[in-house]
Subunit: 612 residues, 2 copies
Amino acid sequence: MKELAELSKLLRYYILLSTTNAGSGHPTSCLSSVELMASLLFGGFFHFDADNPDNPNNDRLIFSKGHAAPLLYSLWTVAGKLTEQELLTLRKFGSPLEGHPVRAFPYAEAATGSLGQGLSIGAGIAINGKYIDILPYRVFVLLGDSEMAEGSVWEAIQLASYYKLDNLIGILDVNRLGQRGETMYGWDLSAYEKRISSFGWKTICIDGHNFDEIFKAYDEALKSKLPTMIIAKTVKGKGVSFLEDREGRHGVALSEAEFKEALKELGEIKRLTISIKKPDSLKPKQQALEIKEFTNRYNIGEMVATRRAYGEALVKIFPEFPDIVVLDAEVSNSTYAEIFKKHYPERFFECFVAEQNMVGMAVGLSLRGKIPFVSTFAAFLTRAFDHIRMAQYSEVNIKLVGSHAGVSIGQDGPSQMGLEDIAMMRSILNSVILYPSDAVSTEKLVREAAKYKGIVYIRTTRSTTPVIYSYDEEFPIGGSKVIRKSDKDLFTVIGAGITLHEALKAYEELKNRGIFIRVIDLYSLKPLDVETLKEALSETEAIITVEDHYPAGGIAEAVKSEVGAERVYSLACRKTPKSGAPEELLDYEEISAKAIVDCVNKLNKLFRKYKI
Amino acid sequence: MKELAELSKLLRYYILLSTTNAGSGHPTSCLSSVELMASLLFGGFFHFDADNPDNPNNDRLIFSKGHAAPLLYSLWTVAGKLTEQELLTLRKFGSPLEGHPVRAFPYAEAATGSLGQGLSIGAGIAINGKYIDILPYRVFVLLGDSEMAEGSVWEAIQLASYYKLDNLIGILDVNRLGQRGETMYGWDLSAYEKRISSFGWKTICIDGHNFDEIFKAYDEALKSKLPTMIIAKTVKGKGVSFLEDREGRHGVALSEAEFKEALKELGEIKRLTISIKKPDSLKPKQQALEIKEFTNRYNIGEMVATRRAYGEALVKIFPEFPDIVVLDAEVSNSTYAEIFKKHYPERFFECFVAEQNMVGMAVGLSLRGKIPFVSTFAAFLTRAFDHIRMAQYSEVNIKLVGSHAGVSIGQDGPSQMGLEDIAMMRSILNSVILYPSDAVSTEKLVREAAKYKGIVYIRTTRSTTPVIYSYDEEFPIGGSKVIRKSDKDLFTVIGAGITLHEALKAYEELKNRGIFIRVIDLYSLKPLDVETLKEALSETEAIITVEDHYPAGGIAEAVKSEVGAERVYSLACRKTPKSGAPEELLDYEEISAKAIVDCVNKLNKLFRKYKI
């Protein structure tokens, strides 16, 4: 107990030292969690092989309240994995000790800092431990009370209960104060207890600065048969009298003078280095899954929806990629993830109508070496944009699949139409975006996606479309297919997905009139096949891009960014869509075969008239 | 009671008739809610002036389960506002009766169809009734059980309780079946009751097909001092034996043969037209708010953060726009929405860390004629992308304000940096995007945003920047400011926000070396001042755009889309950011004054060498 008090003082010292030195940070948010975290890591509850962060037996700790990063770094300094000198590099350019945790710091499980995401990530890691790797590790997630307002936390709470994640333990630091003032419930622990327990979690309310209560709570939590939330009443700024429970001190570092005062209050600091208990050495007890045969080939001309080919592809490639895990948000009969579910139910996890949590869980699964394929309607992936944004900072390997792209879904209308998903996924710095036009290319690209390390987005189509490629064709990321070409090509028409087929129809119509167009299937939207595009621009008079997507941030802008916009014309959805038959809507948005033919004819007239 | 049974049969007939005729739709999801909605509208509980949907005294009904649209249309057919012929235009191109409700149908309060958003919209309308217009109308929201998995519903539930919205009544249709199978809780009403009541709502569990119970429930709900959720056990497909409680019938219309069978089961249909009870005629009892004087002018050279100017602008323009309501998500001391809160607390609503619900509530407030200004960090607006996406289909008048744009926020690191927000907002078809570089332009643009009817996004900067405009300057939407110009301009540098100031620094440095650049402040990113851009491109050798934003979908792509990309060069954030001082990060991402100078020099050398 004496050592715990010394330990807490040392941690407080490190927190104040590092943030004061940095001139910024969230010291008061760190100070409230000190005893909770000190007990966890150094009280023997947390088992972690500090020399091997990737040891599959390690317990996992996620700071959902990512702004408490200085506490995380302080803990690992005590654990002997950071020197005090290194600790002083907090928030400095080039240091792995960033303002909020990132993977550059090996003991940060995930990048956090956008509140309300950590519990989903933890749930994903817990699912891996309970159902896939079958290892007894625990997942601990430190949450702030302010972030309990985020709906995504309640998605995670629901799903964790549904999946009986008794290996998931949340520690809720109820310090009463959010950023600008008191939270909705202040210190009323019963408010959290009532709500969280109503979702089927075990809850344990404690004084978050009382070691006896904290230790008892962890003991209980580790024995619990339910996911557990330790709800701890704490004091923001605890340990420094002029900071304790004060408004207006969120995210404010101490001044030099304040730091000196605080040091006086802390008194003598005893340096300690304490080892973290190592886990037992166990091998993942993954079930050996029986491989299900699935070998249908697609024949040219067959009508197959690319969304169906997606589901079938998952089954076909699973033997080669046994780390694949498939998640879907209540629409697996539409995205066809259900085909995989039927064959490998042990590796399919229904996420219900909760897309944010689904992406968070995918991040968690990826951190434990799995390859998550995550599907819903393209439009509904926008629900999870912040989770996708943060996923890139966790440097994860996840595959997002958006079906029902564009107005071509028809009568359901705009709420169900993905028209901004390409723009969204292009804004993820290092994403790969694939948009197959037929079943063969879908299958090949799903395999490319599984091979690739990083965030990949695959856009699939609702309606059936003809198979146009031979089953032996390959589709490298960053490539394209020039599927109609002659030395008489007037213009180049670039399509993808449904518009590729419209382009082919337009080709036939124009050919009958003696006009030849080059047709390119731009199945890789990111990275682009710049060489082929430049070649087309130099060998034909203009490029016309056609996309079932809004204009901003889509295919036209991507192409123009690379090859210039001088002779690049864009057909895209420029009007608010409505219900209607797919063909009607393609015409209405002027991205149909008819619209392509019109555009070619108009441009042709224009170019002849002005001798361009 | 006999009439209610006849009414229910008629509604079922209309639902089956319209969806069968359309060949698509969600009849089974409609059938489970028939008695609930029939009782509401025709049992005297719902007061609505059917000749005047915009009557401020009307109760409001939102179909959060938007796919039950055919039921909505059927109800209004019985109310005499649609003919049966019109009903048969369901899902047809050009009909206001779309697959999911849109505002083209005057009795759809909002566009829904992306699940889990209706309760937030309802909460916004309820807040208007209880706190702003002070009118006794009620807001009813029909929810499906499947969408209760969405975290955004729990955000709305929390906030509705916090704001004591006793005028908000949810009707939860628990028909057990989601799209692809059973929900997490099936028919266990107590699961919903436990959870929802734990958040401080009154809950009433009933048989959703029993009129006695339904009527009692509405009676109770209308007397409740708490927000109320009526939790109704229902049968999906109720009324047609081969549809009732069947899996695999979600979103599937009946075949002609099935329809004939169903008609046999329904028996004789009696046509009815029933008026909906009109509300009492009351005038909004808005508090007359005391106008707070706030008249500080900004002087050229003064260092003021545009985020602060935003907060001050709100106070300055409020007297001219008394319909303004300000919402913020726990960061009002960072976004400076707190300045407005301090002056007009009655028009400020804290939304806590729940951005999705905040945007949903803004939609609701806008539908009731208010002008919501909604703020949080630009990065965290991505949390609400699906709500923003759907907001456009409700044709609302909302202003979104994202602070802490770009890497220039410094040490907090990437989790807090908005680097994809311009791309996101550009993908909203008819959005306006404003990015002021100083306090004067911020104030003027906030006023332009308030004047404009539609979705506006304003991007603000964390750090202080010098005032560069005279206080009398005007800033029309779609304009730009050429702030450095000569007949010796070699290149044009386009900046906005923080990069405009870097461009000005670069200008000085280059001028000292005898090189002149045109500098344009692109404060209106959408719509763009195409004329000025084209002029710059024709009068100077190249355009260099500089943005504190990722490359995709941002300023460069917007500019290239309009004026071509031949001689347009882009400086943007092309590397994953880190913690660091703002200046360090601007240099690291090569969007600083130094980087601009380098770029100009490099291009200059290149152009001279190859005599471009």
